[in-house]
Amino acid sequence: MLIKSLVSVFLAAILTENYVLCKFLGICPFLGVSKKLNTAVGMSVAVTFVMVLATAVTFPIYQYLLVPNDLSYLQTIVFILIIAGLVQLVEIVLKKYIPSLYQSLGVYLPLITTNCAILGVTMLVLQKVETTALYTYTYGHALINALGAGIGFLVAMVMFAGVRSRLESADIPKSLQGLPITLISASLVALSFLGFSGFVDKLIPLA
């Protein structure tokens, strides 16, 4: 049951609840950094890493520090400060100890603080604790959910980088060039993701 629910949370986060294409979180990097495949992958890996790390820190802080002290209204301000601090810390640690990784991921880190997907994931996993009735939503579920959200972001970015490289050679009407055609192709990619709705529930029935 536990493994089943973990797998279902993981797959749902990638396919049916894709943070970019179904929940509209992290649209700016999705549109801005998806022109080239390698930058798209770099950004996604950095986002995934920070997402898991941020959830790992904010989940216990909310559950065991804010809620018992009746401070849950401070969620927004505490979480954004934790994320900003974490991103800064990761940047310093990477620079000092793993310079090669810093070279490839470091450039994306300043952008990540204001990426709404990160703050969104940390808040949505806490909402799930209250709304999931079928099984108890544990710390493990939250981490798996954050990992799935990051991988979903990666999948969307990589797919979209492919679509955009095809767009380069297309003949597009003048007014649609640039951002408009990018958004319209994003709409088609999002349409394809609608095909997954109900997929996870059918594949792994929990009840």
């Binding site: 927004t76 703050l119 319209i184 993701f193």
Partner: protein, 237 residues
């Protein structure tokens, strides 16, 4: 008299000339996510405007106190404080809006329009113009959201503000793909009008991004963008 006119300009520029959504392409996430109905769009617009006015005012007051190096964290903390206040107000007085906006209400904190105005305008200008700038940008944001909300609700649910108008419902307009599509078409129209008027059009969301000065990632880092954002800041001054 001249003073009054410029103050008026600070207010009106955000509505059409520098519309944050359609011309600067900022705040795309809430624009796409909450515009499934016209009333949601207004709720989001008003909440963001309130935060924008308050944060612009406070940041402008503190602009000489905040050290340059820690300005972004300081701005985020101020913005987060106001978002929390607005969140509590909405929860208490408009619980229906709170439910339909959901996670996007606290996410106003990372809305780049607000950080963008703090960085580009409020940190350099006195309090009164900053408040008017915030109000103008907020009204522009609300207007763009409302425009999208009306289109999506009309086609997707056949109604506007819940009043049934069309007999047909094209559900896809309310679903995520419809959001991307309508936004793409609206930006295409804005670009068409801007090129006719001989103005520059935005080709990448990075151009207006408040983080573009600190961002070293591949597409944001090229010089053209930096000079563009400088231009915007100069125009504002």
């Amino acid at each position: 008299m001249a003073e009054k006119k410029t103050l008026m300009q600070e207010f009106t520029k955000g509505i059409i000339k520098e519309n944050p959504v359609l011309c600067l392409v900022l705040g795309t996430c809430p624009t796409l996510a909450v515009t499934t109905s016209a009333s949601n769009a207004i709720g989001m617009g008003v909440a963001a405007t309130a935060v924008l006015i308050c944060s612009n005012a406070v940041i402008s007051m503190l602009r000489k106190v905040i050290p340059d190096k820690v300005r972004i964290p300081a701005y985020i903390t101020i913005i987060a404080g106001f978002v929390t206040i607005v969140q509590m107000f909405v929860k208490a007085f408009a619980p229906a809006i709170n439910n339909s906006l959901g996670i996007f209400l606290p996410l106003i904190v990372v809305n780049c329009i607000i950080l963008g105005r703090a960085e580009m305008y409020a940190s350099k200008n006195p309090v009164l113009p900053s408040i008017l700038d915030g109000l103008g940008m907020g009204v522009g944001f609300t207007a763009a959201l409302l425009c999208m909300g009306i289109i999506r609700e009309l086609f997707g649910a056949g109604s506007i503000f819940g009043i049934q108008l069309l007999p047909v419902q094209i559900l896809i307009f309310i679903l995520p793909p419809g959001g991307f599509f309508v936004f793409g078409i609206l930006i295409a129209i804005a670009n068409k009008l801007n090129t006719k008027a001989g103005k520059k059009v935005v080709t990448s969301p990075c151009q207006g991004c408040p983080m573009s000065s600190t961002c070293k990632s591949f597409e944001c880092a090229n010089k053209e963008n930096n000079s563009n954002s400088k231009e915007v800041a100069d125009n504002v001054n």
